[in-house]
């Protein structure tokens, strides 16, 4: 049976001009991500993996090629339409957590739901608490990000990403700032969300250990996808 990909990247190129010279960061990138997959893009620093993630999220524009999210070619979307795409379909997890410091953990989660205008205000609170319970952060719901440990911050960021039920979650080095123990906790959490709730993940990382959690791995070198490996759990 034909499965419709959540994400389809076709003939993607990205070049930057620097000091009169053009640098090709991505060249002819092609791949798909299907619903429920946990895909890891592995590559060294400077290989172009973060640029790829920024292009998929509509934070940057490609030089050439097409990116389809839920069948919509994002290359032709205006800034307002890209904002709507991020609001409706894409969840983000950053290496530096990127939580809003002046809001509590609970409010950070509600913030994402509010952007998408999900539920009524009282329902939002209830749903946010449920999500925090799922990521085992209920005890710090009313705390501010500055009061949390690194692992807790990243789990809060995961909670915020899944709160708006996006089609795909993009994670940029999500364990880059964590020690081994908390790194495993966060990866286990994402694996659990993927398996139990069928959440689709696309992670970029330089850490092969992290990639082991994924169902499929893509290797990127000098802006090109080298090979694809599928892990059957």
């Amino acid at each position: 049976m034909y499965r419709k990909p959540v994400l389809k990247v076709r003939n993607l190129y990205k070049a930057y001009k620097n000091g009169g010279r053009t640098h090709l960061i991505l060249r002819n990138v092609n791949f798909e991500v299907y619903p429920g997959e946990f895909v890891a893009i592995l590559g060294r620093s400077g290989s172009g993996k973060s640029t790829l993630l920024n292009l998929i999220a509509g934070l940057d524009r490609p030089s050439y090629g097409h990116i389809y999210v839920d069948g919509v070619d994002t290359v032709y979307l205006s800034e307002t339409e890209l904002t709507r795409l991020r609001r409706e379909k894409i969840g983000f997890i950053f290496q530096d957590y990127n939580l809003i410091g002046s809001l509590t953990v609970l409010e950070n989660v509600i913030l994402a739901m509010e952007a998408k205008k999900m539920y009524s205000p009282s329902q939002r609170r209830k749903a946010a608490l449920e999500i925090l319970s799922r990521v085992e952060l209920l005890h710090v719901a009313e705390k501010y990000p500055s009061e949390l440990s690194g692992g807790e911050k990243q789990r809060a960021a995961v909670a915020r990403a899944i709160a708006k039920k996006p089609s795909i979650i993009l994670a940029d080095e999500p364990t880059g700032a964590l020690d081994t123990k908390t790194k495993n906790q966060v990866m286990n959490l994402m694996e659990k969300l993927n398996k139990e709730y069928n959440t689709t993940f696309l992670i970029v990382t330089h850490d092969p250990e992290i990639a082991k959690t994924s169902t499929r791995q893509l290797y990127i070198k000098d802006g090109e996808i080298l090979q694809a490996t599928t892990i059957t759990p």
């Binding site: 307002t80 709507r84 991020r86 609001r87 950053f94 990127n98 002046s102 913030l111 509010e114």
Partner: protein, 386 residues
């Protein structure tokens, strides 16, 4: 609304910047409140005084008043009876205006105003303390303007002695029957009002007065009475009260424009401080703007977030300014009162509305530029500030 809460929490009163910005707007609002309450107070009292004194009619003055009104009497008092005979004339008040002194006030001269006792009720402001003259039997009684009463520390029932010249040994001994309410006009408040005949006798101006105030039954008689007065007194000056009031109105409009100008300048300075604060806030929150945009908040939401911040600064500043303005004007009132000057205050609701509306408008208008800058920030550049 979590976004609104975010804007509210960012206005931390512990931040010096927040306090200074609120202070900037508050100074503008306070200056409007204090300036206008004093301005309108003066305007009201001048208008009231004019209306009391020259209500709907004319003032008959000697043609040559080069030495001012204090040349004693130059109009025979009997002319008042002739004017009373003109159709449409309601009240005629022949008035003698002289200078007086007391031992207590030294060389601080004041006006001694002689008016017919029967006209006192209508021609003078109401009595604040004590009683008006008994028209039948005024005797040696007087009414004191409120400022003079304060200078003399005199109350109803007290005796005062008025000297015609500073170093006279003997003066006119009078009993204070009442203290008048404030007119807001310095010359009227620093005056003593005595029965006309007594005044004429004391100053040796028998049968003479300085001016004659003519009040009409209603405005429809203005032209006919003016025509008759011009016929009867070709050598006198006849001033129409409306002209006086309209001249005063012109002066008051200029005063109001100056007040608006001063208040406006204060507001502009307040606005600049709001713009500076919102701009700093945008710079500090560049990363948060990036995060919000990544989550899916659009330009309109980001714009609203910072406009709310500007609005909150101006709302708190405006309300604080109104309170400070009231306190300042009252302090000014008390301070001047100790120097025997009564500064009337009038708090019209429109001053409060004007002050708060201007604060809000200035606050929001000053936040537009930094808010637009935030809203249009490129998401990738913003997120790199994390």
């Amino acid at each position: 609304m979590v976004l609104l809460r975010m804007a509210l929490r960012d206005l931390n009163p512990a931040h010096t910047r927040t306090l200074l910005t609120i202070l900037g707007i508050a100074i503008g609002a306070a200056s409007i409140i204090s300036l206008f309450s004093v301005g309108y107070g003066m305007e009201n009292s001048v208008r009231e005084a004019l209306n009391n004194l020259v209500n709907m009619g004319f003032i008959l003055l000697p043609q040559n008043i080069g030495g001012g009104l204090l040349n004693g009497g130059s109009i025979p008092v009997r002319e008042a009876d002739r004017i009373r005979g003109i159709e449409g004339v309601d009240l005629v008040t022949p008035t003698l205006i002289e200078l007086g002194f007391t031992e207590k006030t030294g060389d601080n001269a004041f006006l001694v105003v002689g008016i017919p006792p029967e006209n006192a009720e209508e021609a003078l402001p109401g009595v604040r303390n004590g009683a008006m003259w008994n028209p039948g039997e005024p005797g040696h009684t007087c009414l004191l303007g409120c400022t003079l009463a304060k200078m003399l520390e005199a109350h109803p029932g007290d005796k005062v002695e008025i000297l015609a010249r500073l170093y006279d040994d003997k003066g006119l001994k009078l009993t204070v029957s009442g203290v008048l309410g404030s007119t807001g006009v310095f010359l009227q408040d620093q005056a003593v009002y005595i029965p006309l005949e007594l005044c004429q006798r004391f100053y040796g101006e028998d049968e003479m007065v300085t001016v004659i105030f003519v009040k009409l039954e209603d405005r429809s008689y203005t032209d006919t009475v003016k025509g008759r007065l011009l016929e009867m007194y070709p050598n006198y000056m006849i001033v129409e009260n409306d002209e006086v009031i309209s001249n005063v109105d012109n002066i008051l409009s200029i005063v109001e424009a100056v007040l608006v100008g001063i208040g406006g300048i204060s507001m502009v300075i307040g606005g600049l401080s709001v713009m500076n604060s919102v701009m700093m806030s945008v710079n500090e929150k560049t990363a948060e703007i990036g995060i919000l945009k990544t989550i899916g908040y659009g330009e309109r939401s980001i714009l609203t977030l910072f406009l709310i911040e500007g609005l909150l600064y101006s709302l708190i500043g405006g309300l604080t300014g109104i309170a400070v303005g009231i306190v300042l004007s009252k302090l000014l009132y008390k301070m001047l009162l100790t120097r025997n000057f009564i500064l009337p205050l009038t708090y019209k609701p429109k001053i409060f509305i004007l002050s708060l509306t201007l604060s809000l408008l200035v606050g929001v208008a000053s936040s537009v530029y930094p808010s637009l800058k935030a809203a249009r920030m490129r998401v990738l550049e913003a997120i790199r500030h994390v």
